[in-house]
């Protein structure tokens, strides 16, 4: 099956009623407006995704999955392994984040937060509250740490202040 037909068939199977509604819209539209429909849907999807971003991240149930997914970041596991996995996850999540999947924001912040917390707990509070970062020379990979910090800062600020996810990350990262 060609790629396009496969995409359509999968959507139709998953959302049969929505698919039928879409077909009704397409059928009822003159040729000249069909391209407009594509454009409108693209814009509406962009809007919807940015709206979803804030609401989904308050779903704390996702955090349990996140914890399970990243068990290897806990101190009982080899540090090098944790760094490698966390680093690759951050990169993957950047890709995921471009799709604006809301949980990825909390997810990425979590991973980066763990990384910062684990290797530079003395700076975690400062990063979180002041956004200031000047890494001292350590044995951990400098570039990876900087990427983690950057990732965390970028993700963290979009998380709603005072939300459960926000509080969770504060607890996670802040050690005074």
């Amino acid at each position: 099956m060609r790629k396009k037909e496969k995409v359509i068939a999968e959507f139709k199977e998953r959302y049969p009623s929505d698919y039928n509604d879409l077909i009704a819209i397409v059928y009822g539209m003159p040729n000249k407006d069909l391209d407009k429909l594509v454009e409108v849907v693209r814009y509406m999807v962009e809007k919807e995704k940015s709206r979803v971003k804030k609401s989904d991240i308050s779903q704390v149930s996702r955090l349990d999955e996140i914890r399970e997914d990243h068990y290897y970041l806990y101190p009982s596991h080899a540090e090098s392994e944790a760094l490698i996995f966390a680093g690759s996850d951050i990169l993957e999540l950047q890709e995921f984040g471009k799709d604006l999947a809301a949980c990825a924001i909390a997810h990425a912040a979590f991973i980066s937060g763990m990384l910062i917390q684990k290797y530079h707990p003395e700076y975690a509070h400062k990063i979180l509250h002041e956004g200031v970062w000047d890494l001292p020379d350590r044995s951990v990979d400098q570039a990876l740490m900087e990427a983690a910090v950057q990732e965390f800062k970028e993700r963290f600020h979009v998380i709603e202040y005072g939300s459960e996810v926000h509080n969770f990350l504060c607890e996670l990262v802040v050690q005074e």
Binding site: V7, Y15, D18, D21, I25, V40, M44, A101
Partner: protein, 56 residues
């Protein structure tokens, strides 16, 4: 950035004005989709429009 957003809003509101029922249906569909399926939907719309144009 803001000009781009204004342009998008304008395109959406023009469509809404011209096809109020279609617009409402799209809103309903988008509300039902998971975040991960939103892009998939945009892709499906594009493919269906291509198919429809070829048929006509």
């Amino acid at each position: 950035m803001y000009l781009l957003d204004e342009k998008k809003e304008k395109v959406i509101s023009e469509f809404k004005e011209k096809y109020p029922d279609g617009y409402d249906m799209l809103v309903e569909i988008l509300n039902e989709l998971s975040a991960a399926d939103l892009n998939k939907f945009a892709e499906v719309v594009q493919y269906e429009v291509e198919r429809e144009k070829m048929k006509r």
